[in-house]
Symmetry: C2
Subunit: 419 residues, 2 copies
């Protein structure tokens, strides 16, 4: 029997002592039930029980974050917070993401002994790497396919998100291809919709991508949203690959980590992982899942690209949190499992310096919708402004100073920089 263990780190809030909370977590997720049953021996607990590895006490608060916690007799009115690391024997569930989730998350979020619980980190033994091969393309493969090196891959999103007819979509692709963009993706709202079935869309898009490439000499990477039921996703992937497509996108929460891992078994092009719906799992600070932990599972399951929001986005997330996500994605797992963080939402050229300063890398995809397409001088200037923003960032030159000699950037600052 392997000695391998999975370690899960939780941010806990409890009206009990942190030690008691940790024991309840460990018991609930291994051998326990609410009343002792025959057979729950010490030997069994020793071999299969979860183990408390570490408890770090943090602050206390005077009101519970989540509803439904019970309080101990003589409760002092305090809700204690802390970090609790619990380890689980791998032989309890094996290197299986679905069964890992039942063990490390399971019923924990519902326990009355807790008034807050958030999964903040996860250490997984090598056996997971043997079972899940991870991204097939990652950063290197995506650079190879796009021919873009030494700077972020700059792209956009089909806008309006939904409703473009095929002719307008083709017009848009010609436009962004002529503008020189590296990448374009379907909106997450737009997959295999009855008003524009994927088959017709793939045909129309790839014809145009190829036609544009003949003119520009550069073939844009197009991420087709193939999100769907398990069999449909397989058919959709085949449609894309047969038409010469070079990227597929899925909404990870829609298809599940199991769906993503399944796709990764047969995929022949990079998988662009969109994280819509993720807010549901993470916006309450006392509940859910920290993205820096979740992204490990996405990488194991095969996401070549992974959305992380962007600095100053239109979303609630703090810049610090976005930076943590980018850094987490760039930290190697096992022998690599490199995924390309996708910085997106409310982006334009002016976000490059802060993004670079915080992450010290150009190994990101930087996507802008309006920030490229609505540039006053058109998409070509929008694309150029993004490149110039990154040049300024990498060279450590003040954005406004750099803009003096770079009109595309200057015009971008005029339009987007005063918001």
């Amino acid at each position: 029997m392997s000695e391998d263990r999975v370690v899960a780190v939780y941010r806990v809030e409890t009206p009990y002592s942190l030690e008691r909370a940790a024991e309840v977590i460990a018991g609930e997720q291994s051998t326990g039930t609410f009343t002792a049953v025959p057979g729950e021996t010490d030997a069994l607990k020793e071999r299969f029980g979860a183990r408390i590895e570490k408890i770090i006490e943090l602050e206390s608060v005077s009101a519970p974050t989540l509803p439904g916690a019970k309080t101990p007799a003589g409760h002092d009115g305090k809700y204690r917070r802390g970090l609790v690391a619990v380890s689980f024997p791998l032989h309890n569930f094996g290197p299986s993401i679905p069964n890992l989730m039942s063990a490390i998350a399971g019923n924990l979020f519902e326990l009355q002994e807790l008034s807050g619980l958030r999964l903040v980190d996860l250490e997984l033994p090598e056996a997971f790497a043997a079972r899940y091969p991870g991204p097939k393309f990652g950063i290197d493969g995506t650079r190879r396919l796009t021919g873009v090196y030494d700077r972020p891959i700059i792209g956009t999103i089909v806008k309006p998100s939904i409703g473009l007819d095929l002719k307008d979509l083709q017009r848009m692709i010609l436009n962004v291809s002529a503008a020189g963009l590296d990448f374009i993706k379907d909106d997450e709202l737009n997959a295999n919709a009855p008003y524009a079935p994927l088959e017709a869309r793939v045909k129309a898009v790839m014809e145009t991508v190829d036609k544009a490439a003949d003119v520009t000499g550069k073939r844009i990477m197009y991420a087709f949203n193939i999100t769907g039921d398990i069999e449909e996703m397989e058919r959709n992937h085949e449609l894309v690959v047969k038409a010469g497509g070079n990227c597929v996108m899925v909404s990870i929460m829609s298809v599940g980590l199991a769906g993503l891992a399944h796709l990764n078994r047969y995929s022949e092009v990079p998988i662009h992982g969109h994280r819509n719906q993720w807010g549901m799992m993470t916006r309450s600070p006392g509940l859910g899942f920290e993205f820096s932990a979740y992204q490990k599972l996405c990488r194991l399951a095969g996401a070549d690209h992974l959305h992380v929001n962007g600095l100053n986005s239109k979303f609630y997330e703090s810049n610090e949190s976005v930076v943590r996500s980018v850094q987490a994605c760039l930290k190697p797992m096992y022998d690599g499992y490199a995924t390309m963080p996708v910085v997106s939402s409310g982006q334009w050229a002016g976000m490059a310096p802060a993004t670079y300063e915080a992450t010290a890398t150009v190994d990101v995809m930087h996507l802008a919708g309006g920030g490229i397409l609505a540039h006053p001088d058109g998409a070509g200037a929008g694309f150029k402004s993004m490149q110039q923003g990154w040049e300024a960032a990498v060279q450590g030159i003040e954005l406004d100073a750099y803009a003096e000699q770079h009109p595309a950037l200057r015009r971008a600052i005029e339009k987007y920089g005063k918001g």
Copy 2:
């Protein structure tokens, strides 16, 4: 083009007016971006835009529930709450659960204009019924397979949750079969674990189930936990069916709704749907997903049985919420889609009257771990006490009065009733 629309109802909290919040929701999830782009015409918005159907103002609060909301200029300090119904044209995404989720949930939970968002109801057009056939067995099929009518299906969970060797597991099955139980399930922690691979477990269990049935004349329903990656789940299902097994269980959040729908395409026995991890989506009252809405998707995707917690459980959930879940599961969808609510956690005979009073049905599975197995007179008396609890409930007789003539129930009350 069909006129069908999906209606999603949200409980919203916002520092803006509810009207403004509703507009942001509708815009974000159909045609919008943060700055106007060419092509977002009125005609396009009319055909593809989400529509605000209803706004019901509720209370206001003075502090935001979720972090990261921005406030309008001159904010009056109030965060307004209300119900907002938004409808989406079905042709935007089609009758696809994965793409439905991207539309009705998507990025909404991350919006700065909202300080709270919870999806509380969902109306889905007929097209979903055509695409997703739903439970193959449901209540009727489960009763047929177990031979139990006119009372709840009474069962237990393999305990200790994890670590039993095959001999002890066989001993337990003989014990519960001799005790007369209708049903037993694997714990959600226990699937295809290296310490006891499913193949060996299925063989050992089914041999014992059949052996016991030869003696008792009643064949217990055993729900094997086949949770796993997509291909593994298919292999696991085949193992169970080939061995003559009569039920499989999956952790729905582990395999995803897409994984569940996939299983439902080839499954030959009832699917016991476990909802562990669900707390992550629902315990924060200002965020996430209400189970009464989520259960519709589980039923579409094929859950024959569906866990709903239990009254007075060891979990945070209020009894009112549990009752709402049971009632939601029992409400017909389309032409049926009947699923059997599974009342579980901290259960014993004494929970029957309140459960029956609140739900007015015996079409539930009632599971007890310690509440049956740790009965002072053994599992047989534990099972009997559960039946007697329900007899008292249905006949409207006070539990203590009924217990006077029913020793199994009386002993259960003595042990569990004083907690």
